[in-house]
Amino acid sequence: MDDIFERFETEVKRGVIQVAVMCLLEKERYGYDIIKSLKDTGLGIEEGTLYPILRRLEDEKLLASRWVTEGPRPRKYYTITAYGKEIRGKLLGSLKSIGRAVDRLENEMNGVN
């Protein structure tokens, strides 16, 4: 049962994390900083999985990045692009409507029971 729950949660989270990352990148951030913020908002993930997501979003021109080599370690900073903002708006709308639909279904289910 735990396996089923974990698999389901991973599938749902995969999409949500992408939108969450796009929201966080209104301000320029680097990987570790993004993970901390995700954890603070209750969206903890396996830390390594963030980087492929960032790479994918960057390949799709939704994010832009630059390396900053000053400081103790080189860091890759990400920020959302104008195109990314447009897509983010649509994704947020879609997530909200899914949330409302799930709420309605839950209410119906409780009413029946």
């Binding site: 570790y32 830390e47 390594g48 994918r56 370690r73």
Partner: protein, 326 residues
């Protein structure tokens, strides 16, 4: 120390990446692991050591999983101008291959180096042929891409599972469905060729000046002796299809099938040597049919090689097929 642990993890993640991507991913992951280790050590008020780094690496997730989540790196071949150039090169190569086959099977049509011919006229004909062949090739490729696009965008998702199951059924060597299809198709073409072979019409010439195309018989009495061999190959095909279903050792029918393909190749080479059966066919039509026969010979040889390889695989990894195998 812990650097080795970090290196080993990063190496596992970046193992199958291209050089550029691997370098950047390694740099980013290393920074993250060290940042995270610093934070964890500070929280526990201890120095960074192997235990802390090990814990951070555990929180990163399995290296294989992370590696599989990265999108495939784009190579230079993925860029549109390079793709277009490659496509054009492919079309030119295909055209040259056709020209080469024509030169071998019907040199009179290619007419590239006939002594005493008028060079400008020969070159003009070749240019016209090249442009025509290229236009045809582009049309065919465009049609293929259109089909692929329609399949990808409209049909793939809803029907993917069903198509895969159907494909598995056809590919399964012992599939009764496949055997039935082969037997029915073989019986149909055997009946057709035995009954109608002397009446198969074919257009006499594609460049006939008359507005009405003239149809002539494709085959003459000279073709009669070949029927015996064609029937033998057809019956062998039916027997092999049945053997695939009833015999557990699939390498036996597979090997027989490769022998049948080799026999077919020899038969078509023989037919190619005797062709044309009807001298009424124009040079162009004869050449076209010879090219088709040559392609069939190559196809039979490729099929034979594939079946021999399949027989070897069956012999090495054979396990009894589910269903009707005995």
């Amino acid at each position: 120390m812990y650097d080795d642990m970090i290196d080993a993890y990063i190496e596992e993640v970046t193992e199958h990446m291209g050089h550029g991507q691997s370098k950047e991913v390694a740099r980013e992951l290393r920074t993250h692991i060290l940042d995270s280790a610093d934070a964890l050590a500070a929280e526990r008020k201890v120095p960074v050591d192997s235990r802390i780094v090990g814990e951070v690496i555990d929180k990163m997730g399995p290296a294989e999983k992370i590696a599989s989540m990265y999108p495939a790196q784009k190579t230079i071949l993925d860029h549109n101008p390079i793709k277009a150039l490659l496509s054009l090169a492919g079309i030119a190569f295909a055209f040259l291959m056709v020209l080469l086959v024509l030169e071998v099977v019907a040199p009179e049509v290619v007419n590239l180096a006939i002594p005493g011919s008028n060079p400008p006229q020969a070159i003009f004909q070749v240019i016209l042929s090249v442009v025509g062949a290229l236009a045809l090739a582009i049309l065919v490729i465009a049609a293929i891409f259109l089909c692929m696009y329609i399949y990808e965008s409209r049909l793939k998702t809803p029907y993917e599972a069903r198509l895969k199951a159907f494909e598995r059924g056809l590919l399964d060597a012992g599939s009764p469905l496949k055997a039935a299809g082969t037997i029915i198709a073989t019986i149909i073409w055997l009946v057709l060729i035995n009954v109608f072979w002397s009446r198969i019409p074919f257009i006499q010439s594609f460049t006939n000046n008359n507005s009405n195309a003239v149809l002539v018989p494709l085959l003459s009495d000279q073709f009669g002796p070949f029927l015996l061999y064609i029937n033998a190959i057809g019956i062998a095909g039916i027997v092999i299809a049945v053997l695939y279903v009833i015999v557990a050792q699939k390498w036996i029918p597979s090997l027989l099938e490769s022998l049948m393909s080799l026999s077919s190749a020899l038969l078509f080479i023989w037919i190619l040597a005797v062709f044309p059966f009807n001298t009424g066919l124009s040079v162009g039509v004869t050449a076209l049919i010879k090219v088709i026969l040559a392609v069939v010979v190559v196809g039979c040889l490729i099929g034979a090689a594939k079946q021999i390889w399949q027989a070897i695989k069956f012999a090495m990894y054979e396990k009894p097929e589910k269903g009707n195998a005995v």
